[in-house]
């Protein structure tokens, strides 16, 4: 028993560090590729590491009007929640570490915690800009949670119909049984629609342009993060990097959990390596399409427009996807 706990702790640490490392590497790619697309040279790929190191040594300023304990607690909470997510999401094609102790519903809740922590941190900061940023983040959460939940639940429901009796909310099951092969033509289109709506939700979840309203640099001078500095900001930054990996891994697990090793018939260590490499490429592709390209191709939208966009078209698309999935079962 104790051996497996030690093993679990060891694996947990590896996942934590690996997740953070991956997050920062992908963030580096994000900045470099975005710069290339804009015709610039951009920072080196190691820049996020420099950023985090620099932030850790800078002074941690707590404003006079801030609610001190909340203000300092929220970055910790945000980072802890995101790091916990790493244990519930299948990374690299492996089973999630705590796969038996939490499922899709827990992930849905955990995804909301970092944003909530930022909201509370923003309100606790005592600055008018942070207040506006926090209000906007709350409205945005109310907007994108809807299609997110619909997508998750539709997939779990359809899987429960295709594989009765299995723990369909568990990500291990979902990753092991990609739905594309289990549905007919209607279901295929429905799944595609769900995929598209989740693609639109991803930049909102990660607060990237066109949905980076809570932190709008030119409008509210950094918004919720305006007053944060030093170690607190480093924690938010790290949390943002890890969340990018988590969201992309979720997308990959839900829609493209395929491995390459089985295709080539390679097993064992080399098979695992091939699968990990393929997973890294898939995550990179998701980030490229959902975060990087979108970040440089659009202007920032207003909060009213974002809310309307998610409640009407995106929810409509995901509901249509669900309908088609249901239709697929009947037909």
């Amino acid at each position: 028993m104790s051996v497996s706990i030690v093993q679990a702790v060891w694996q947990g640490l590896v996942i934590l560090f690996g997740g953070a490392l991956l997050g920062m590497i992908y963030k580096g790619f994000d900045r470099k590729l975005a710069a290339q697309m804009q015709g610039r040279i951009g920072p080196p790929l190691r820049q996020p590491f420099f950023d985090v190191i620099k932030l850790m040594v800078k002074e941690n300023v707590v404003p006079d009007h801030a609610v001190g304990w909340l203000y300092n607690l929220m970055p910790l909470l945000s980072l802890a929640a995101v790091a916990t997510l790493l244990f519930y999401v299948p990374l690299g094609g492996f089973r999630p570490l705590l796969g038996g102790y939490g499922d899709l519903i827990l992930i849905l809740y955990l995804l909301a915690v970092p944003s909530l922590a930022m909201v509370v941190g923003g309100f606790a900061a005592g600055s008018p800009f942070a207040t506006i940023g926090a209000q906007r983040e709350m409205v945005m959460m109310m907007a994108y949670e809807f299609p997110l939940a619909i997508t998750f639940l539709s997939i779990a429901w359809r899987l429960s119909v295709a594989l009765p009796g299995q723990a369909v909310f568990s990500l291990t099951t979902i990753a092991a049984n990609p739905l594309w092969g289990l549905v007919g033509p209607f279901g295929f289109i429905g799944l595609l629609l769900l995929f598209l709506s989740l693609l639109v939700v991803t930049p909102a979840e990660l607060a990237k342009i066109p949905f980076d309203i809570p932190e709008a640099e030119t409008e509210i001078a950094g918004g919720l993060l305006a007053e944060y500095s030093g170690r607190n900001l480093a924690m938010f930054y790290l949390g943002d990097a890890i969340k990018m990996v988590v969201m992309a891994s979720l997308m990959v697990a839900l829609f493209f959990p395929y491995g390459l090793a089985n295709l080539f018939g390679v097993a064992g260590f080399w098979g695992g390596l091939i699968d990990v490499a393929f997973y890294l490429v898939k995550v990179f592709l998701v980030i490229f399409v959902a975060v990087i390209t979108v970040r440089v191709g659009f202007a920032r939208l207003k909060i009213g427009q974002v809310a309307r966009l998610f409640w009407l078209p995106v929810t409509g698309v995901s509901l249509l996807g669900t309908l088609l999935l249901a239709l697929d079962r009947i037909v």
Binding site: Q36, M37, G39, I41, G42, T293, V296, G297
Partner: protein
Amino acid sequence: MIFGTLMKQLFSKPATNPFPVRHMPRSVTAILKKVAAGQAAIHPPVPTPKDLRGKIAYDRDKCIGCGLCARVCPANVIELYKPEGEEKNKIRMYVARCTFCAQCVDACPVGALWTTEEFLLAATDRFAENLIVE
């Protein structure tokens, strides 16, 4: 929309004019020597356009000390003074104050002042040697 341009730019050379070297070299003179010998390469600098209004050059012998340049200079760059043992006034220019408008060049009746294309004039001392023209 704009995505076509973005994708094209992703695979083409950036529009930035990069610095000569990627990282600050330990010795600038050493690396310049290497470049002259063909052993190292630097990003070539952007060519200086002709007729750039750079540092003003001064021919002391032609100068007749009329002081017109000092009268029209907007930035009090030119100091007119009488050197020891000479009959005519001469000038001293403090390039740190200069706006490089070259009005003094236009004002000089004998052509003792002219613009050069020298613009790499940054220094830490306002009265460094290359920032005083006399």
